[in-house]
Amino acid sequence: MEPDPLAPLRRFADPGLLILSSLAEGEKHGYAISHDIERFSGQRVGPGTLYGALGRLEGRGLIEPTTPEGRRRPYRLTGAGRAALRTQLASLKEFSTIGLRRLGEA
């Protein structure tokens, strides 16, 4: 089994996955990320949690900041971030497939 690249993020692992998913469609700044996450997942990620997760993702080289737009700084996925997201989503897909099969819905 491949090691989980988001495991060291502890309670920030879930927001981290949401952020990576949000950035998968292109670079975004903090407000746009939090708005996008709420739109596609229904979850509100508060500013403290958002920047806790952004800092950890940046520290692990999974995302990187781009040129600031005024006071806002957009972030984008790195190659490692894209790979980590792919691994996580594949794992979730497998989990989801097994769960649905056991429910007789797939």
Binding site: Y31, S34, G48, G52, G59
Partner: protein
């Protein structure tokens, strides 16, 4: 910029984050908060974020190895002062009783000696840092030198003066004189530690600190031994009936304060030595 619900006090909550964190993310956080409405959930989230930033600052905003090493050494100097106060308080609290003869007090003394040996080796970068601070001060008074050199002799003078006066003092006057003397000692240690810690953090040559870091481990080992002794010693004093009163205060109360100081100093010492070791490793890897 529209501000649908960001009162000024909400923006000011960002000040609860550590400075280094604010330097990196502060503007972004402020821009984000300006778009938010102040709700209890948002406030709790912000407070949790600030606590997390304090607890995991090194993980969230990694510091360059050189300042990280100097910061760790500076914190170690200040932790030494706290340890010194804990040992001194316990020694004084129990010197008139029969509580200072067990193995715990011996451990505290042996640890203190070991810590002193390590600290002497670490005095070199401190001294260089202070000299650098003094040379940069130019026309201003070299406060670093004043802060290091003045408090200890001043306290020694106060101690000698009070020793001469003590036989003539009695009752409330003697109690006030004792606590004045104890407070002066604590202030002298605190000022010296702050001055030295700041000088190390800002000016000490990191190459020298990296070379001397094994001495920091010796110091830490001594401090940890001393503090373990003080904690055991304090706990034994706390459970001994009829603790000796010191300057009108039961020795048990001083032992409690000493225990708290010991635990805090232990955490600081351990954290700073490990942080310094990590920074030293990063410096070595950079070369």
């Amino acid at each position: 910029v529209s501000r649908p619900g960001a009162p000024v006090w909400l923006l000011r909550l960002a000040a609860l984050y550590p400075r280094r964190w604010r330097d990196r993310y502060g503007e972004e956080l402020a821009a984000l908060l300006e778009e938010q409405r102040a709700t209890p959930a948002l406030i709790v989230d912000l407070l949790r974020g600030a606590l997390d930033a304090h607890l995991h600052l090194g993980e969230l905003v990694p510091e360059a190895p050189e300042p990280a090493l100097r910061r760790a050494a500076g914190t170690l100097v200040q932790a030494l002062a706290l340890a010194l106060l804990a040992v001194a308080a316990m020694t004084k609290a129990t010197e008139d009783g029969n509580l200072a003869t067990d193995a715990a007090s011996d451990a505290a003394r042996a640890g203190s000696a070991l810590a002193a040996a390590g600290a002497l080796a670490l005095a070199a970068p401190t001294a260089l840092g202070l000299l650098a601070a003094a040379s940069r001060a130019r026309r201003r008074p070299p406060w670093a030198i004043v802060g290091m050199a003045v408090p200890a002799p001043l306290f020694l003078g106060v101690t000698i003066g009070l020793s001469a006066l003590a036989p003539g003092l009695g009752g409330v006057t003697a109690t006030i004189a004792f606590w004045g003397w104890a407070l002066a000692g604590a202030v002298a240690v605190a000022v010296t530690a702050r001055t030295c810690g700041t000088a190390v953090r800002k000016r000490a040559p990191h190459e020298l600190l990296a070379g001397l870091w094994p001495a920091a481990w010796v110091t830490a080992a001594g401090v940890l031994l001393a503090l373990a002794g003080v904690t055991a010693w304090s706990l034994s004093a706390l459970t001994t009936e009829g603790g000796v009163a010191l300057g009108g205060v039961p020795a048990s109360l001083i032992a409690s304060a000493s225990t708290v100081a010991s635990v805090a100093a232990t955490a600081l010492v351990w954290r700073s030595v490990r942080a310094g070791q990590t920074a030293r490793g990063a410096l070595a890897a950079d070369r």
